[in-house]
Symmetry: C2
Subunit: 337 residues, 2 copies
DNA sequence: ATAAAAAGTAGAAACGTTTCGTTTTCATTT
DNA sequence: AAATGAAAACGAAACGTTTCTACTTTTTAT
């Protein structure tokens, strides 16, 4: 049915080993090169990955484990990563951890059993115990978007603290003093909170506990609930600006202010993370810290690929990227009025 | 390094074939059963999928091709499908078609080369030419969410026409006559438009062309643009209710009405498709037609699995599911006031 | 022109399973 | 106790590659 390398042998009269060598980039005599090329085309030959894998112990498949694929960030990241891997001839097996550490651990096990060549992971867990199975099987792992502190792991992250700090500084520069924050207790959420706090401290502004709202996980309702909480404060104490640590959170905040008829930026200023569909289409256009998603994906893939080659030098590779501010109209300049 | 079936042979003294037979569910003497079980546990043996696949010609991997994974619907569907497949021990290679027919065709080719056992596809294309490669390779294909008319293909869809028809009838029953619709030119968009039109026709209501707004693809801006278009109509002609064919579209519409300070449901009634995060959290709660996403996923996987077994009976399997109305507070009853 | 070196080719073994045809085992019947 | 038949075990071949070693041909240097 399917043509094999033996058919090429029959067609060309060459030895299996010669053909195999050429097909894997080796040198053969020009005449034989031509013969093989012709036979391959004629027979529409494609190497059988299973047979190849049986010997080389490579599956040409990468596992991608991420905390949640149904969110916007996860979906987009998957999109980029999948594209890049396919371009390199790699398949991607994707496993959604559903924000659950034990599911995450199972995912790794599954991928190890599937004998993937490498694993990309946006982790839920904060320590690297769940990766032991992969480590034992000698499968390279690269972490992206989130790193695991203390672990000897290649990773690609953005400087969340610096990014959120400069986002909040942007607010402060425009005269805001009562700035509240909504964030999650996840990796990115906490780091972005730290940046918020640092900016406030360095500006000599204090952060009353009512100005921080957080829940376990980034979600629309986190933003919605947080904003409503702020609105319950006495008017004189209400924040003039809100820093939100994620796209979904921003959606929730916008829903909440629209509901009570508060205008942005006239009554309240907003600054958020991740410029995705909604932040781009809404009016006023949201001012956001934009993560270089494509670069995050491509760097992670690049590092993983470098680990897949022979000379996988032992040096740890940690890439730190920077977010950039995309200015919209959602922040009011209080110095002017 | 990795233990093989030969190690089990050494450990138990049994023949390879006996061990293999038992491992694949065959019968062996109780004593041997025990011996093998013990050795498997002791050596932490896992069958090598490559070696197995080389003989059985099965990769235990399913390809999932979908029109767009970065959208909410695609993300959630991927989540469900991935889960179900993993539970059956199958890996999933996911390919995003990016709403592009030629990418879609390439995706199928890629998966065929990867020798997946089966393919699930939410197609972009409207004819099945792009599946020829898979057909030739004898790889079963199941379509979900969208079917391809005229094609001999297993599929799982919902009755979009009936669903949108009853959504619009719900509006009509509450006294609405000037009902506008926003939809895309994709499969689901067009079907939902048809249901809208049918409901209107059967109620004797006419649909002026200004009451239909459409763009190529479901998106937030489609909703945003559409709603703004309706708002440009002379007040006396403005619709009292809007039917939106998708979640993202609903988001855009809500942004647009919030911007100009129109209240829902007091000034305008809304009804949409797909109850996802935002529609659940916003106030008023949106009235939506809810698709049984999990069932769509599980039925598709079930059908595919049945095709993977030996006796793949030739009968076509087409499953038609129904959406149900999830009543919120976004529709005003005009008969009351 | 010749020897040495380099480049290319060939054949066979190996990878870890499943499967097939044959032989052995064991319980049942005569 | 021997014959029968079904159930279980066995051994070898096969799956489609790569890789290793040995061999042949070509190129280069003398």
């Amino acid at each position: 049915m399917e043509s094999t390398i033996k058919d090429i042998k029959r067609e060309t009269g060459l030895a299996l080993s010669t053909i195999s060598k050429y097909l894997n980039g080796g040198n053969v005599r020009p005449e034989n090169k031509k013969k093989i090329d012709e036979a391959v085309r004629k027979l529409d030959y494609h190497p059988n990955e299973m047979a190849r894998g049986l010997i080389t112990k490579k599956t040409r498949t990468i596992g991608f484990v991420l905390y949640d694929i149904s969110g916007t960030f996860g979906g987009l990241l998957t999109h980029y990563v999948g594209d890049l891997l396919r371009q390199s001839g790699y398949g991607m097996i994707i496993c959604d951890s559903n924000n659950d550490k034990s599911v995450e651990e199972q995912n790794i096990k599954f991928l190890v059993e599937k004998k993937v060549d490498g694993i990309l992971v946006v982790p839920v867990s904060t320590d690297d115990g769940f990766l032991d199975v992969a480590k034992r099987a000698d499968i390279p792992v690269v972490t992206l978007d989130r790193s695991i502190s203390g672990a000897q792991l290649d990773c690609v992250t953005i400087d969340n603290v610096a990014a959120s700090q400069s986002a909040v500084e942007y607010l402060i520069e425009r005269g805001h003093k009562r700035i509240a924050a909504i964030y999650s207790e996840e990796y990115t959420g906490k780091h972005r909170r730290d940046g918020y706090r640092r900016a406030m401290r360095e500006a000599g502004l204090n952060v009353p506990s009512e100005y921080e709202y957080h829940e376990k996980i980034h979600s629309v309702s986190l933003g919605y609930n947080g904003m409503n909480r702020f609105l319950e404060l006495p008017v004189s104490k209400q924040p003039t600006a809100i820093f939100m640590s994620n796209y979904e959170v921003a959606l929730g905040v916008v829903m909440a202010i629209n509901e009570v008829g508060i205008a942005c930026p006239d009554d309240i200023s907003l600054i958020s993370f991740d410029a995705l569909t909604l932040t781009l289409v809404m009016k006023p256009k949201m001012t956001v810290m934009v993560q270089p998603m494509e670069t995050i994906a491509s760097e992670a893939v690049r590092i993983l690929m470098s680990r897949l080659g022979e000379g996988s030098q032992a040096t740890l590779q940690r890439v730190l990227l920077y977010a950039s501010l995309n200015e919209g109209d959602s922040v009011r300049d209080l110095r002017i009025s």
